[in-house]
């Protein structure tokens, strides 16, 4: 739809944002100047009543590692002062695309020129005997709309996922009481909460059906090293186990609550809390109801606008970017998925904000957001260091004629929990795994982000974590060229020469060479050099 251009911009370009998580908050922040200047009229609808907070830190919050204040991303007062209309604790019931309005659950109608969906994702609830799940296809949504949209399935007492603050409170209670927590799923989020909870004093057991933890991110070698590292920190890991059912007990107050998890291979795992960490699904309910094309997420083109309706954009965890070509347009299943990571979501928010401002000013908008590369996954845990990105399953001994430019370097020290694998294409990193080597991980992260070529000697990267990383030429404190006095740049050799001319005291050497006449911090070392020199002289005299 095109908006009549009014001279002196008296009609602001109306943007309605649905979703006030970290990605939504970033969009608001980027739009604030244009809201202040009256070019954009912005209304934000958020389901949660708390201010936008940094969801990345929810696991920290859940173990008492940080406070809500420290997670807060947006300033309600500042937003409202700028002219943003912020509605929290409300949800959108429907989108009327023809009329360009959304209807809220309290009946209010919000008109828009551009609707932005940043509804995020909900935690997956796996198929478990004893836990009820809702279908969310279009028919179910039309039938039970109000009960399903924007709401997650209610879980029985003692079972929780970990997406929002309410979830975090449940986990925090168990952690504080040092309860036994069963974590279902060994993806990065499951491991983060498992490690943090164990560190905070809870008893933690991780159950997963894959062969090793973080199967989406790690190769076999990395997975094995990580499993060993996890055990050392006190987190028990049960692999190859598909969860099948949950059993309940009844509390004194009559509450039916989680008691044990049963796996397909017949294990029964008792616990006080079952924490589901089985991935997330984009919240597409509103889009489905409005007839927008969805696949895993809401399908948008490279310009982040819906394939179905260019006046609707989607960003963050609910958006699936698929470039619309003749080939993709004809497909029923579409490639890709939302990354589930915050970095790409923030970049989308920043880019979309620029685009909206351009549209509001009647300028030519940029046509496509910058393409995202594989996102780096870093396990946020203090005692186990894991960073990985890209396709890392390739085998170093495999001679793949299809990718002649590929190089693979690998280092494994299972005993000490260290593992590094680097995959390069033409010398440039395309993927890596680093476990237990924090400096190397940091360096590889940087090199990957910068698309930099690796040094031909890949072992240089391992040495960052070595105790002797500093192959400087004066590592021998008494090498002739080793500097003793920094203030006056006097070397061991200079002091020995002075000593050979008869300056055998620290003061004497100082007068001769100025060594020790700056800050004086090296006087002890000058004395050592002199003593060593005198000893050598003595030895020479006796043997000569």
């Amino acid at each position: 739809m095109t908006r009549p251009i009014v001279p002196n911009g008296s009609t602001p370009f109306r943007v309605v944002l649905v979703g006030f998580g970290p990605v939504g908050a970033r969009l608001v922040e980027e739009l604030l100047p244009a809201v202040r200047s009256g070019e954009i009229g912005l209304t934000v609808v958020g389901v949660e009543s708390a201010h936008a907070y940094n969801r990345v830190l929810v696991a920290e919050y859940a173990v008492g590692g940080t406070s809500l204040d420290a997670m807060s991303l947006a300033d309600r007062d500042e937003m409202e002062l700028a002219g943003v209309r912020l509605l929290t604790g409300v949800q959108v019931a429907s989108i009327e695309r023809e009329a360009h309005t959304v209807t809220l659950d309290d009946g209010e109608l919000l008109p828009y020129d551009r609707l932005v969906l940043a509804t995020g994702a909900r935690a997956n609830v796996p198929t478990l005997d004893g836990v009820e799940r809702h279908r969310r296809d279009r028919m179910s949504l039309e039938k039970y709309g109000a009960a399903l949209i924007g709401r997650d399935d209610a879980l029985p007492a003692g079972i929780t996922s970990l997406r929002d603050l309410d979830d975090a409170e449940r986990v925090l209670e168990a952690v504080r009481d040092r309860r036994r927590i069963v974590v279902l799923g060994a993806g990065v989020l499951g491991l983060e909460i498992a490690l943090a909870a164990a560190h905070a004093g809870a008893q933690v057991c991780v159950v997963h059906h894959g062969p090793h933890p973080m199967p989406r991110n790690l190769d076999r070698g990395g997975g094995q090293v990580l499993r060993t590292a996890l055990r050392r920190t006190g987190v028990s890991v049960i692999a190859h186990s598909r969860a099948e059912a949950v059993g309940f007990r009844t509390d004194d107050d009559g509450t039916r609550r989680f008691d044990f998890l049963v796996t397909a291979d017949g294990k029964t795992l008792h616990g006080d809390l079952l924490l589901l960490s089985c991935g997330v699904t984009p919240r597409t309910d509103l889009a489905v109801l409005a007839g927008l094309r969805t696949a895993t997420g809401i399908v948008v083109d490279a310009d982040l606008r819906s394939w179905t309706d260019p006046d609707i954009s989607a960003i963050g965890d609910c958006a699936q970017v698929v470039e619309r070509t003749e080939e993709t347009a004809g497909r029923r299943d579409l490639p890709g998925a939302p990354s589930g990571l915050i970095g790409p979501g923030w970049r989308q928010a920043a880019w979309l904000a620029r685009q909206l401002v351009a549209v509001a000013r009647g300028q030519e908008p940029e046509t496509s957001a910058p393409a995202e590369r594989d996102a780096i996954v870093a396990l946020k845990a203090e005692h186990v260091d894991v960073v990985a990105v890209g396709q890392v399953t390739a085998d170093p001994w495999e001679d793949d004629a299809l990718v002649p430019s590929r190089g693979i370097a690998q280092w494994a020290d299972a005993e000490h929990g260290r593992y590094v694998k680097m995959i390069t294409d033409g010398g440039v990193l395309t993927g890596f795994v680093s476990i237990g080597m924090p400096r190397t991980a940091a360096e590889l992260t940087l090199l990957f982000e910068r698309r930099a070529e690796l040094p031909a000697d890949r072992s240089m990267l391992l040495r960052f974590d070595g105790p002797d990383y500093d192959p400087r030429d004066d590592a021998d404190a008494f090498a002739p060229t080793s500097t003793v006095c920094w203030c006056n740049a006097v070397t061991v050799e200079g002091i020995e020469t002075s000593a050979s001319c008869g300056n055998t005291t620290v003061d004497g050497v100082g007068r001769d060479t100025r060594a020790g006449t700056g800050c004086g911090g090296c006087k002890g070392r000058i004395a050592e050099v002199l003593a060593r020199y005198a000893d050598n002289e003595e030895a020479t005299r006796l043997t000569g």
Partner: protein, 708 residues
């Protein structure tokens, strides 16, 4: 030993080490032709900052007093295009006539003045007054813009005052932790490092630098840690530390509540900088960040100090602000035995920025736009307030305007060698060449003097008197040990003579003490108030720290009870990272890091003429990591070419693991094709953070000696 010794201070850096000068015995001062021996001998003198020590530069400083290349008469460019010696009257008449003429045909703002952070307080003050009253121009600024202005802006914004170290340097001795951000005092002011011994002994010296510098090595053997972020990522590193301090509950809540404002905004602004994200941008492991945050918050005496490494960025003000925010959250500023400071570089870098050399300031760190400040200074100068021009333009913009339409047609340069030390030096040279008239005051024919129409030879430090304000805000005395050579004049005399020839209002004193007495009055009531200080008290050895209002005892330590804003609170100013740091730079370029060597000072105009220093470091060497060298096929000692859109530098390569593989280091002290600043950007910090990250990227390649 003959004759009495003169107690004075070193001519070089802001540490202003105390030294004694004693006349050399005449009989033995023959020397050789190319290196006549110094007329005075230098000895270290006990003083709280240097405790009797001197570095190599200080020890050899007297050798320049009778250096054969010293200028001993004014030089005037003749019809033949060459500089020829001339008499003083002739030279000064010419300068006055040309400046008068250019002013008449192009307006007062067509004449500019460029000062230096090495000038005494008296000269810096007089230069500002001369520009505004004798030339009537607003166009004055100085080379301190290249080093101190970001830290100064950040300090003013947060604390309401800019004194580099708001505490005596000796306070550092008792520290358990010292965080040095982008500073290399081990080479730039070596005697300073004696004050780090306490932190070293406590295992708490933390040096943040992309290079493994001499200072970084002081952390070896359990004395602390060296944190090596990728160049240009300091701001992200600091935001990550602030995030951790807040997230882990390490904030000094009571201090933040009672002594600062702005915490809520700050907290939100760093919520997005968790350690793993910071790691992916800085290359510093999350583990290291956590350790560092906890160390800083241990409650033991802790200092955070910044240097040019974090300040000389287009977001330098914001980076210095982030360092201040970190210090404030930890409750350091004003706490006895702890604090935040910035290490001023040039000899009088502190005093030089307080008394009117800056385009927007009047003496006493007063704002030139403030009507009360203008009225006060006008009263001292005996002129009407509207005679004083308004604010001018800062150094880089001033230099960019050389010879341009509406820009400068004439420039006077004092105590600065802009052809070497300015960013984008090639453009500066071009600008100087396109001027109608250039006057340079210097001791030597510097690279800038080479381009001048008139060069006026001036006295060196040991031949003049005045005051300097050291990095700790202490006003100290410079005393003459000998007379200048015949034919050399003091700048105060030159300004006096020119003011007379230009029919300037007010009085331009020649005696330093008379100028200082006037400076006292002009600064009275200002932020940098010197009104309670006089020569006699300094000569008696009093440690005088500003602000020193009349009748007070000075202020060794600021912020004990309040900050300098009207409400007494410090400002936590939220700063943002420009999006660009998240985007990669092209793979085949390196980040150029420029910096200093122990043996040289600033543009090297002085130290390159001291044989002992020049022999030790005769040329610029580009430090390259061996892995990078292998990639570009460079061997140790090869001549390499560093290129970007601004220029080309040719020098030899030195291979060392002291530098990160993604960077190359070149010292900026050298001339000709080795001028590192030919490659540096003149994009400036907007204080309000406009993005720019592509500065100082260079490509590198070896070239055969035949080409070189």
């Amino acid at each position: 030993m003959t004759g009495a010794s003169t107690p004075t201070h070193c001519p070089y850096c802001a540490l202003q080490c105390a030294m004694s000068l004693t006349a050399s015995p005449a009989a033995s001062s023959a020397g050789s032709a190319d290196a006549p021996s110094a007329p005075v001998t230098v000895a270290g003198r006990d003083f709280p900052t240097n405790r009797g020590g001197l570095c190599k530069k200080g020890w050899t400083s007297a050798e320049l007093l009778r250096a054969p290349s010293r200028l001993l008469a004014p030089l005037v460019r003749g019809e033949d295009g060459e500089l020829h010696e001339s008499g003083w009257d002739e030279a000064l008449d010419l300068v006055a006539a040309r400046l008068r003429g250019i002013r008449a045909s192009h307006g007062a703002d067509a004449v500019g003045v460029f000062g230096g952070g090495g000038l005494t307080n008296e000269k810096a003050y007089q230069l500002g007054k001369f520009a505004r009253l004798a030339l009537g121009t607003s166009r004055i600024d100085y080379n301190g813009r290249f080093c101190m202005s970001s830290a100064a802006a950040a300090g003013n914004r947060a604390f309401g005052v800019d004194r580099g170290l708001p505490f005596p340097l000796e306070d550092l001795d008792g520290a358990a932790t010292v965080l040095l951000l982008g500073s290399n005092p081990g080479e730039t002011m070596p005697p300073f490092i004696g004050h780090l011994a306490g932190a070293q002994a406590a295992g708490g010296l933390v040096v943040v630098d992309p290079r493994r510098t001499a200072t970084a090595r002081l952390t070896d053997d359990g004395k602390g840690m060296h944190v090596q972020p990728a160049p240009g990522t300091d701001l992200v590193l600091l935001l990550g530390l602030i995030h951790l301090v807040i997230a882990e509950g390490l904030v000094d809540d009571e201090y933040v509540a009672t002594r600062t404002t702005g915490f809520d905004g700050l907290r939100r602004s760093v919520a997005a900088w968790w350690p793993e994200r910071v790691q992916s941008i800085t290359g510093v492991a999350a583990l290291t960040l956590r350790r560092l945050a906890r160390r800083l918050a241990s409650g033991a005496p802790t200092f955070i100090l910044t240097g040019r490494g974090v300040e000389q960025h287009v977001d330098g003000t914001d980076t210095a602000t982030a360092a201040i925010n970190l210090a404030l959250l930890l409750g350091l500023p004003g706490r006895p035995g702890s604090g935040y400071g910035t290490l001023t570089g040039q000899g009088n870098g502190q005093g030089g920025r307080e008394h009117g050399q800056k385009c927007d300031q009047l003496p006493g760190y007063r704002k030139i736009t403030d009507p009360d400040a203008r009225a006060h200074v006008a009263r001292v100068w005996g002129v009407a307030p509207d005679v004083i021009p308004g604010p001018g333009i800062p150094a880089v913009e001033l230099l960019q305007s050389l010879g341009r339409p509406g820009g400068l047609r004439a420039l006077m340069v004092h105590g600065s060698n802009v052809v070497i030390s300015s960013p984008n030096a090639g453009a500066v040279r071009h600008g100087l060449e396109s001027l109608d008239f250039l006057v340079v005051c210097d001791f030597f024919r510097s690279e800038t003097a080479d381009l001048a129409d008139v060069v006026l030879p001036v006295a060196q430090w040991a031949e003049e008197e005045g005051t300097m304000t050291s990095l700790e805000g202490r006003v100290i005395r410079r005393l003459p040990a000998l007379d200048p050579p015949e034919g050399v004049r003091d700048e105060l005399w030159i300004l006096h003579e020119l003011a007379r020839r230009l029919d300037a209002p007010s009085v331009f004193h020649v005696r330093p003490e008379d100028v200082f007495e006037e400076l006292r009055l002009a600064s009275e009531g200002g932020i940098a108030d010197y009104s309670g200080i006089d020569y006699a008290m300094l000569d008696a050895g009093e440690a005088a720290y500003w602000p020193y209002p009349r009748g007070s005892r000075g202020t060794p330590r600021l912020f004990a009870d309040r900050f300098a804003h009207a409400d007494g609170l410090a400002r936590l100013v939220s700063v943002r990272v420009r999006a660009e740091v998240e985007h990669p730079s092209p793979a085949d370029v390196l980040t150029l890091v420029t910096g200093r060597l122990l043996e040289h000072y600033q543009s090297g105009a002085q130290t390159r003429r001291v044989p002992e220093l020049a022999d030790a470091q005769p040329e610029a060497l580009a430090t390259v990591h061996p892995a990078t060298a292998a990639r570009f096929d460079i061997r140790d000692g090869d001549t390499v070419e560093l290129v970007n859109s601004r220029g080309v530098v040719r020098c030899r390569a030195r291979l060392s693991t002291d530098i990160r593989p993604d960077a190359v280091f070149v010292p900026f002290h050298f001339a000709g094709l080795q001028t590192a600043n030919l490659l540096t950007s003149d994009a400036v910090d907007p204080v309000s953070a406009m993005p720019e990250f592509k500065t100082n990227l260079v490509s590198i390649r070896p070239i055969s000696e035949a080409v070189a």
